[in-house]
């Protein structure tokens, strides 16, 4: 194939951005209460929960992918859920990818948000309570605004990490164009089949993207570091 197939390039990019976007939203929705609980609970076993959340940092993606495959497959709970709407399995579906990505990127979102919640301690919340703010009110009017740098960092890292995901996706998503064939898998594919130009475009794009993400995160960190407290 001599000329570029734009559709072949664009499809994984779009799919990846969609996946990262949905994953980031879900992580903010579900990760925030987890981060809040980890930051504020006095339960002894909370560090055990924190460890579970952080496991994807050290586990080989293939290990996580293997267990996810079992969970999402026809004989796991994922298969049971899929059965509710007449499908056989969640593995090798976009939904499956989202579930995998949420688990895999969880520590990158939860950790910065937890740190941000911990950084300001109990005091601002006590102050809010003495000023008639209910716990729910204080969470939104004090905790979330004060933890904004943590939310930003978490969202950026979660998004970026999902985009760079490979091993887990290979295990549970396979390589279905338009459904599970995301960027990193596409690059692998292009290289395997010696489509160097396409591989170059995607890989080069990722380099630029990663650079931008890390630079943005660092600059945000500096800005909040100077003015935030």
């Amino acid at each position: 194939m001599g000329e570029l197939n734009l559709a072949q390039l664009w499809s994984p990019i779009r799919l990846t951005i969609e996946l990262a976007f949905i994953t980031t939203i879900l992580l903010l929705v579900f990760g925030t209460p987890v981060a809040w609980w980890l930051a504020r609970s006095k339960a002894r076993w909370k560090e055990a929960v924190a460890t579970v959340v952080a496991m994807p940092l050290v586990l080989p993606p293939t290990v996580l992918g293997f267990y996810l495959l079992l969970l999402l497959g026809p004989n796991g709970p994922g298969g049971w859920i899929a059965g509710l709407y007449g499908a056989r399995t969640l593995a090798f579906t976009f939904t499956g990818l989202v579930i995998g990505s949420v688990l895999y990127s969880m520590p990158f979102v939860v950790q910065p948000i937890r740190n941000a919640f911990e950084a300001f301690g109990d005091r601002p919340l006590e102050v809010a309570a003495t000023l008639r703010a209910s716990p729910w009110d204080a969470f939104w009017s004090v905790a979330v605004p004060l933890a904004r740098p943590g939310f930003l960092t978490g969202a950026i890292l979660g998004f970026a990490h999902t985009i760079g995901e490979f091993g887990v996706i290979l295990m549970i998503g396979g390589n279905i164009p338009g459904q599970t064939k995301v960027l990193s898998v596409a690059i692998y594919d292009f290289v395997e089949t010696q489509y160097w130009t396409e591989a170059h475009i995607l890989a080069g794009g990722m380099v630029v993207f990663s650079f931008a993400v890390i630079l943005t995160t660092m600059m945000l960190g500096r800005r909040y570091g100077q003015h935030g407290r």
Binding site: E126, T130, L131, S141, P145, L146, R229
Partner: protein, 368 residues
């Protein structure tokens, strides 16, 4: 038995780690009550329990409002208690500017009834924070921050104001700058204030009622004028012991620039023009500035020479000195003052409880 005057009733008992607290006392519904004691005596814990930030068994009743009564399983959560709380260190919300900070509690308090006309402009004026409204808290000095937190607490229309060593994080200059604002609050608001402090200077300036604490227990509680001359309490034994007297400006001597104050049982003269006749002032007399004579001395440079009667003599001060409490007025019915004199002088004059004397007061200081 219920007393007819509404008051604040406090009782907390429990342990926090290795610290045990067991206190019960009552406070009037107006004026400043100081919880006074050394670090670690439990005063901040009591204040936090009053606010519901901490939970120890007991009760806390403000007038007709029961905020906690463990016997009846009543515990009103902090955000449902109409109180104002000023924390030890600046607790301004960093993500809001000064105006937004001030309005945070006001917005949530709604139209709760309040005894004072505490509107925004009046509070801002009272605390002198008008120029700061649009500023970010980052740009405020320590003293400004504490003034803003006091204003924020007041604007939430509290029934009671709790202050936890609000000046302890400030340097001496800033304290001096902020104390007059607190005194103005005291004069213009009917709000009861509980003021935690380990600084006798602050207590002497601000407090009307005193709760003396030591190691999680109440040593004594009552009006400042009573406790400050109670020989069984450590206040009088302190090296810099002094008494506070409430005085009213009677007249100004324009020729010599002297102000005469009337106090219970006598009159005191102080250099300078200390306010318009009728103004209420708090005066401080250090025990070391008081001496006694048996006859009225006329050939002395000391202006204040008042008839008084010895109330008690406490020889426990040290080897050389005794602490004497005397009551002003020839019949000894006036305000009580304290004096520290040598044992030798006491013996020479034959001073004993009931002895009529003249109290020579070398200097009087104006506290507020």
């Amino acid at each position: 038995m219920r007393e007819s005057v509404p008051q604040i009733s406090t009782a907390f008992a429990g342990t926090l780690g290795s610290f045990s607290l067991d206190v019960a006392f009552k406070m009037p519904m107006r004026g400043i009550t100081a919880l006074f004691g050394p670090s670690g005596c439990g005063k901040t814990t009591i204040l936090r329990c009053m606010a519901g930030l901490q939970h120890l068994p007991g009760h806390f009743i403000v007038g007709d409002q029961v905020w906690q009564d463990s016997a009846r399983s009543v515990f009103v959560r902090t955000h449902e208690r109409p109180l104002g709380y000023v924390f030890q260190e600046a607790s301004i919300f960093q993500h809001l500017n000064v105006r937004q900070n001030l309005l945070y509690g006001a917005k949530r308090a709604g139209n709760a009834p309040t005894s004072d006309a505490l509107d925004f402009d009046a509070i801002v004026e009272l605390l002198g924070i008008g120029q700061l409204l649009e500023r970010s808290p980052v740009a405020l000095s320590g003293g400004e921050r504490q003034r803003v937190s006091v204003g924020r607490a007041l604007l939430s229309r509290p029934r009671i104001l709790l202050m936890d060593e609000p000046l302890s994080a400030l340097d001496r200059m800033t304290k001096e700058e902020i104390l007059p604002y607190f005194e103005r609050l005291h004069q213009s608001l009917a709000l009861p204030v509980v003021y935690v402090s380990h600084d006798i200077g602050e207590v002497a300036r601000l407090a009307d009622t005193l709760v003396l604490l030591s190691k999680g227990r109440v040593m004594a509680s009552g009006p400042l004028e009573v406790l400050q001359t109670d020989p069984s309490l450590p206040l009088i034994a302190a090296p810099d012991a002094a008494v506070m007297l409430e005085g009213r400006v009677e007249s100004i001597d324009e020729t010599y620039a002297l102000t005469t104050f009337s106090v219970a049982g006598g009159a005191l003269v102080m250099p300078g023009r200390q306010g318009a006749p009728g103004a209420e002032r708090r005066l401080r007399i250090a025990a070391s500035d008081v001496s006694f004579t048996l006859t009225a001395a006329s050939d002395t440079t000391i202006l204040n020479c008042l008839p008084a009667r010895i109330v008690s003599i406490d020889g426990a001060a040290n080897e050389a000195q005794v602490n004497i409490i005397a009551a002003l007025g020839a019949d000894g019915s006036g305000a009580r003052i304290a004096a520290r004199i040598t044992r030798k002088s006491q013996a020479a004059l034959g001073l004993a409880p009931g002895t009529p004397v003249f109290a020579q007061i070398k200097s009087v200081a104006l506290m507020r």
